[in-house]
Protein backbone atom coordinates (compact mmCIF):
# COMPACT_ATOMS: atom_id res chain seq x y z
CA UNK A 1 0.00 0.00 0.00
CA UNK A 2 1.46 3.38 -0.98
CA UNK A 3 1.46 6.31 1.42
CA UNK A 4 -1.19 8.01 -0.70
CA UNK A 5 -3.52 5.05 -0.16
CA UNK A 6 -3.19 5.09 3.61
CA UNK A 7 -6.03 6.54 5.59
CA UNK A 8 -5.92 8.65 8.68
CA UNK A 9 -6.85 5.64 10.82
CA UNK A 10 -3.74 3.82 9.57
CA UNK A 11 -1.31 6.52 10.68
CA UNK A 12 -2.90 8.23 13.67
CA UNK A 13 -1.65 7.61 17.16
CA UNK A 14 -4.16 7.09 19.89
CA UNK A 15 -2.71 9.06 22.76
CA UNK A 16 -3.45 12.75 23.05
CA UNK A 17 -1.99 14.91 25.80
CA UNK A 18 -4.57 17.00 27.57
CA UNK A 19 -4.93 19.84 30.03
CA UNK A 20 -7.84 21.64 31.64
CA UNK A 21 -9.13 25.06 30.65
CA UNK A 22 -7.91 26.61 33.89
CA UNK A 23 -4.32 25.44 33.38
CA UNK A 24 -2.01 28.42 33.26
CA UNK A 25 -1.02 29.32 29.71
CA UNK A 26 2.70 29.28 30.47
CA UNK A 27 2.39 25.90 32.18
CA UNK A 28 0.66 24.51 29.10
CA UNK A 29 3.41 25.91 26.87
CA UNK A 30 5.97 24.19 29.10
CA UNK A 31 4.18 20.89 28.54
CA UNK A 32 4.39 21.48 24.78
CA UNK A 33 8.07 22.32 24.92
CA UNK A 34 9.28 19.70 27.39
CA UNK A 35 7.38 16.85 25.78
CA UNK A 36 8.20 18.05 22.26
CA UNK A 37 4.56 17.92 21.28
CA UNK A 38 2.58 20.13 18.97
CA UNK A 39 -0.70 20.51 20.82
CA UNK A 40 -2.80 19.80 23.88
CA UNK A 41 -6.45 18.92 23.87
CA UNK A 42 -8.40 20.93 26.45
CA UNK A 43 -10.91 18.90 28.44
CA UNK A 44 -13.69 20.04 30.74
CA UNK A 45 -14.50 18.43 34.09
CA UNK A 46 -16.51 15.75 32.30
CA UNK A 47 -13.55 14.88 30.06
CA UNK A 48 -15.24 16.40 27.04
CA UNK A 49 -13.01 18.10 24.50
CA UNK A 50 -13.71 21.83 24.56
CA UNK A 51 -10.67 23.23 22.78
CA UNK A 52 -7.09 22.92 21.70
CA UNK A 53 -3.91 24.74 22.56
CA UNK A 54 -1.10 24.27 20.05
CA UNK A 55 2.17 25.94 19.31
CA UNK A 56 0.20 28.10 16.87
CA UNK A 57 -1.96 29.56 19.65
CA UNK A 58 1.16 30.01 21.80
CA UNK A 59 2.83 32.08 19.09
CA UNK A 60 -0.42 33.99 18.39
CA UNK A 61 -0.56 34.92 22.06
CA UNK A 62 3.08 35.97 22.04
CA UNK A 63 2.53 38.10 18.91
CA UNK A 64 -0.46 39.81 20.53
CA UNK A 65 1.63 40.61 23.59
CA UNK A 66 3.45 43.11 21.38
CA UNK A 67 0.39 45.33 21.20
CA UNK A 68 -1.30 44.52 24.50
CA UNK A 69 0.09 43.58 27.87
CA UNK A 70 -0.83 40.18 29.20
CA UNK A 71 -0.50 39.15 32.79
CA UNK A 72 1.24 35.89 31.96
CA UNK A 73 1.22 34.93 35.64
CA UNK A 74 -2.56 34.52 35.58
CA UNK A 75 -3.36 33.95 31.91
CA UNK A 76 -5.17 30.64 31.50
CA UNK A 77 -5.57 28.26 28.61
CA UNK A 78 -9.28 29.12 28.45
CA UNK A 79 -8.42 32.68 27.42
CA UNK A 80 -6.27 31.77 24.43
CA UNK A 81 -7.28 28.29 23.31
CA UNK A 82 -8.91 27.49 19.99
CA UNK A 83 -12.45 26.38 20.76
CA UNK A 84 -13.18 24.84 17.37
CA UNK A 85 -10.98 21.77 17.45
CA UNK A 86 -9.52 21.03 14.03
CA UNK A 87 -10.56 17.52 13.26
CA UNK A 88 -10.80 14.98 10.51
CA UNK A 89 -12.55 11.71 9.98
CA UNK A 90 -10.46 8.55 10.36
CA UNK A 91 -11.66 7.42 6.96
CA UNK A 92 -10.07 10.00 4.66
CA UNK A 93 -6.66 9.68 2.98
CA UNK A 94 -3.82 10.72 5.28
CA UNK A 95 -2.29 12.89 2.57
CA UNK A 96 -5.56 14.86 2.37
CA UNK A 97 -5.54 15.32 6.13
CA UNK A 98 -1.96 16.58 5.89
CA UNK A 99 -3.04 19.19 3.35
CA UNK A 100 -5.89 20.25 5.63
CA UNK A 101 -3.36 20.71 8.42
CA UNK A 102 -1.13 22.86 6.24
CA UNK A 103 -4.09 24.96 5.07
CA UNK A 104 -4.91 25.69 8.72
CA UNK A 105 -1.31 26.33 9.78
CA UNK A 106 -1.29 23.20 11.93
CA UNK A 107 1.11 20.32 12.30
CA UNK A 108 -1.32 18.01 14.12
CA UNK A 109 -5.00 17.33 13.69
CA UNK A 110 -7.41 15.42 15.89
CA UNK A 111 -9.38 12.40 14.83
CA UNK A 112 -12.86 12.54 16.26
CA UNK A 113 -15.57 9.90 16.35
CA UNK A 114 -18.23 10.25 13.68
CA UNK A 115 -20.87 12.59 14.99
CA UNK A 116 -23.80 10.25 14.39
CA UNK A 117 -25.11 9.13 17.73
CA UNK A 118 -22.38 10.91 19.67
CA UNK A 119 -22.75 13.64 22.20
CA UNK A 120 -21.33 17.02 21.30
CA UNK A 121 -17.73 17.70 22.30
CA UNK A 122 -16.64 14.09 22.38
CA UNK A 123 -13.13 13.18 23.34
CA UNK A 124 -10.83 12.64 20.35
CA UNK A 125 -9.63 9.13 19.86
CA UNK A 126 -6.52 9.89 17.90
CA UNK A 127 -4.06 12.43 16.58
CA UNK A 128 -2.42 12.61 13.18
CA UNK A 129 0.81 14.53 12.79
CA UNK A 130 2.48 15.94 9.69
CA UNK A 131 5.66 14.15 10.69
CA UNK A 132 3.90 10.80 10.71
CA UNK A 133 2.62 11.39 7.19
CA UNK A 134 6.06 12.51 6.00
CA UNK A 135 7.69 9.49 7.63
CA UNK A 136 5.23 7.25 5.85
CA UNK A 137 5.88 8.93 2.52
CA UNK A 138 9.63 8.61 2.90
CA UNK A 139 9.56 5.14 4.42
CA UNK A 140 7.24 3.66 1.85
CA UNK A 141 8.88 5.42 -1.04
CA UNK A 142 12.30 4.32 0.14
CA UNK A 143 11.11 0.73 0.15
CA UNK A 144 11.01 0.42 3.94
CA UNK A 145 7.42 -0.68 4.16
CA UNK A 146 7.08 -3.68 6.43
Amino acid sequence: MTASAKQVRDLMHITATSCSADTLFLEAVRILHRNTIESLIVLDSHSRAIGMLSRLEAVQTYARSGIRTYNFDTLTVAEVMRSNIPQVSPNIPAISAAQIMLDQGLREIYVMPNKDGETSNPQPFGVLSINKVLSEINGVSNGEEG
Binding site: L32, L56, V59
Partner: protein, 170 residues
Protein backbone atom coordinates in the same frame (compact mmCIF):
# COMPACT_ATOMS: atom_id res chain seq x y z
CA UNK B 1 11.83 32.49 42.62
CA UNK B 2 10.74 35.70 40.94
CA UNK B 3 8.47 35.28 37.95
CA UNK B 4 9.98 36.22 34.61
CA UNK B 5 8.38 39.09 32.75
CA UNK B 6 7.42 37.66 29.36
CA UNK B 7 6.24 41.09 28.25
CA UNK B 8 9.85 42.27 27.94
CA UNK B 9 10.63 43.54 24.49
CA UNK B 10 12.79 40.84 22.98
CA UNK B 11 14.46 41.44 19.66
CA UNK B 12 14.77 38.88 16.93
CA UNK B 13 18.50 38.65 17.59
CA UNK B 14 17.76 37.61 21.18
CA UNK B 15 15.84 34.53 20.07
CA UNK B 16 17.32 33.68 16.68
CA UNK B 17 19.76 30.85 16.05
CA UNK B 18 22.97 31.73 14.30
CA UNK B 19 23.80 29.12 11.68
CA UNK B 20 21.37 27.65 9.20
CA UNK B 21 20.88 24.08 8.04
CA UNK B 22 20.97 23.93 4.26
CA UNK B 23 20.73 21.60 1.31
CA UNK B 24 21.46 22.18 -2.35
CA UNK B 25 19.09 22.41 -5.26
CA UNK B 26 20.09 18.96 -6.52
CA UNK B 27 19.39 17.22 -3.21
CA UNK B 28 16.78 14.49 -3.68
CA UNK B 29 13.48 15.42 -2.05
CA UNK B 30 13.51 12.11 -0.17
CA UNK B 31 16.89 12.96 1.35
CA UNK B 32 15.84 16.51 2.27
CA UNK B 33 12.65 15.16 3.85
CA UNK B 34 14.74 12.71 5.87
CA UNK B 35 16.79 15.68 7.07
CA UNK B 36 13.61 17.50 8.20
CA UNK B 37 12.43 14.44 10.10
CA UNK B 38 15.76 13.47 11.65
CA UNK B 39 16.49 17.00 12.88
CA UNK B 40 12.85 17.88 13.62
CA UNK B 41 13.07 20.90 11.33
CA UNK B 42 10.27 22.87 9.75
CA UNK B 43 12.40 23.80 6.76
CA UNK B 44 15.89 23.97 5.34
CA UNK B 45 17.37 26.73 3.25
CA UNK B 46 18.20 25.67 -0.31
CA UNK B 47 21.45 26.87 -1.82
CA UNK B 48 22.14 27.29 -5.50
CA UNK B 49 24.75 24.84 -6.79
CA UNK B 50 26.70 27.43 -8.75
CA UNK B 51 27.36 30.21 -6.29
CA UNK B 52 25.76 29.05 -3.03
CA UNK B 53 23.19 31.82 -3.27
CA UNK B 54 20.08 31.20 -1.18
CA UNK B 55 17.63 29.95 -3.80
CA UNK B 56 14.60 29.11 -1.73
CA UNK B 57 13.15 27.11 1.11
CA UNK B 58 12.20 23.45 1.32
CA UNK B 59 10.02 22.49 4.24
CA UNK B 60 7.29 20.15 5.41
CA UNK B 61 4.76 22.10 3.34
CA UNK B 62 6.72 21.66 0.13
CA UNK B 63 7.26 17.96 0.84
CA UNK B 64 3.58 17.25 1.42
CA UNK B 65 2.50 19.25 -1.62
CA UNK B 66 5.11 17.60 -3.80
CA UNK B 67 3.91 14.15 -2.83
CA UNK B 68 0.24 15.08 -3.17
CA UNK B 69 0.86 16.30 -6.73
CA UNK B 70 2.62 13.14 -7.90
CA UNK B 71 0.83 10.93 -10.38
CA UNK B 72 2.93 7.94 -9.37
CA UNK B 73 4.29 7.53 -5.86
CA UNK B 74 7.50 6.06 -7.33
CA UNK B 75 8.32 9.47 -8.82
CA UNK B 76 9.15 10.63 -5.29
CA UNK B 77 12.58 9.06 -5.77
CA UNK B 78 13.40 11.15 -8.82
CA UNK B 79 12.30 14.54 -7.47
CA UNK B 80 14.95 17.02 -6.47
CA UNK B 81 14.53 19.97 -4.17
CA UNK B 82 14.88 22.30 -7.18
CA UNK B 83 11.60 20.88 -8.54
CA UNK B 84 9.53 21.81 -5.50
CA UNK B 85 11.28 24.51 -3.44
CA UNK B 86 9.51 27.69 -2.41
CA UNK B 87 11.48 30.49 -4.08
CA UNK B 88 10.38 33.33 -1.80
CA UNK B 89 12.59 33.60 1.26
CA UNK B 90 11.00 35.77 3.92
CA UNK B 91 13.68 37.83 5.58
CA UNK B 92 13.69 40.20 8.52
CA UNK B 93 16.43 42.27 10.13
CA UNK B 94 17.63 41.00 13.51
CA UNK B 95 17.01 44.22 15.41
CA UNK B 96 13.21 44.44 15.31
CA UNK B 97 10.84 43.21 18.04
CA UNK B 98 10.35 39.45 18.17
CA UNK B 99 6.60 39.95 18.70
CA UNK B 100 6.38 41.79 15.34
CA UNK B 101 8.17 38.96 13.58
CA UNK B 102 5.92 36.43 15.30
CA UNK B 103 3.00 38.27 13.70
CA UNK B 104 4.76 38.27 10.32
CA UNK B 105 5.18 34.50 10.64
CA UNK B 106 1.48 34.12 11.34
CA UNK B 107 0.49 36.43 8.49
CA UNK B 108 2.81 34.68 6.05
CA UNK B 109 1.89 31.22 7.35
CA UNK B 110 5.49 30.25 7.94
CA UNK B 111 7.28 28.82 10.95
CA UNK B 112 10.83 29.76 9.98
CA UNK B 113 12.19 33.16 9.05
CA UNK B 114 15.72 33.50 7.76
CA UNK B 115 18.28 36.21 8.06
CA UNK B 116 20.62 36.45 5.10
CA UNK B 117 23.85 38.34 4.71
CA UNK B 118 23.89 39.91 1.27
CA UNK B 119 27.25 40.48 -0.35
CA UNK B 120 28.30 40.66 -3.99
CA UNK B 121 24.81 39.79 -5.14
CA UNK B 122 24.68 36.61 -3.12
CA UNK B 123 22.45 35.94 -0.14
CA UNK B 124 24.44 33.97 2.41
CA UNK B 125 22.54 32.17 5.16
CA UNK B 126 23.26 33.75 8.50
CA UNK B 127 20.58 32.98 11.08
CA UNK B 128 17.09 31.63 11.57
CA UNK B 129 14.18 32.68 13.78
CA UNK B 130 11.96 29.69 14.51
CA UNK B 131 8.45 29.23 15.83
CA UNK B 132 9.87 26.75 18.31
CA UNK B 133 12.24 29.31 19.79
CA UNK B 134 9.24 31.43 20.78
CA UNK B 135 7.71 28.39 22.49
CA UNK B 136 11.02 27.69 24.18
CA UNK B 137 11.26 31.30 25.35
CA UNK B 138 7.70 31.24 26.74
CA UNK B 139 8.39 27.98 28.55
CA UNK B 140 11.55 29.22 30.27
CA UNK B 141 11.16 29.48 34.03
CA UNK B 142 14.48 30.91 35.15
CA UNK B 143 16.88 33.61 34.07
CA UNK B 144 19.42 30.85 33.46
CA UNK B 145 17.16 29.22 30.91
CA UNK B 146 16.66 32.56 29.20
CA UNK B 147 20.37 33.25 29.15
CA UNK B 148 21.04 29.80 27.72
CA UNK B 149 19.07 30.89 24.69
CA UNK B 150 21.48 33.77 24.16
CA UNK B 151 18.94 36.39 25.15
CA UNK B 152 20.57 39.73 25.87
CA UNK B 153 24.00 38.25 25.19
CA UNK B 154 26.52 41.05 24.98
CA UNK B 155 26.99 42.03 21.37
CA UNK B 156 29.28 44.59 19.87
CA UNK B 157 27.59 47.42 18.08
CA UNK B 158 28.11 47.89 14.36
CA UNK B 159 30.31 50.92 14.97
CA UNK B 160 32.47 48.97 17.45
CA UNK B 161 32.97 46.18 14.92
CA UNK B 162 33.78 48.73 12.22
CA UNK B 163 36.37 50.42 14.43
CA UNK B 164 37.96 47.08 15.30
CA UNK B 165 38.30 46.13 11.67
CA UNK B 166 39.24 49.34 9.98
CA UNK B 167 40.54 51.85 12.49
CA UNK B 168 43.99 52.14 13.92
CA UNK B 169 42.58 54.46 16.58
CA UNK B 170 42.29 52.86 19.99
Amino acid sequence: MAALDKNKNMLVRDLMNVGVITCSTDTPVAEATRLLLDRDLESVLVLDLINSNAAGVFGRREAIRAYANLENAEDWQTLTVADVLHPDIIEVPPDIPATAVAQIMLDQDTRDIYMLHHAAGIGWPAAIFRFDEIVRYLSAETEEEIEAMGVHAPRKSAIEIFKERYSTLK
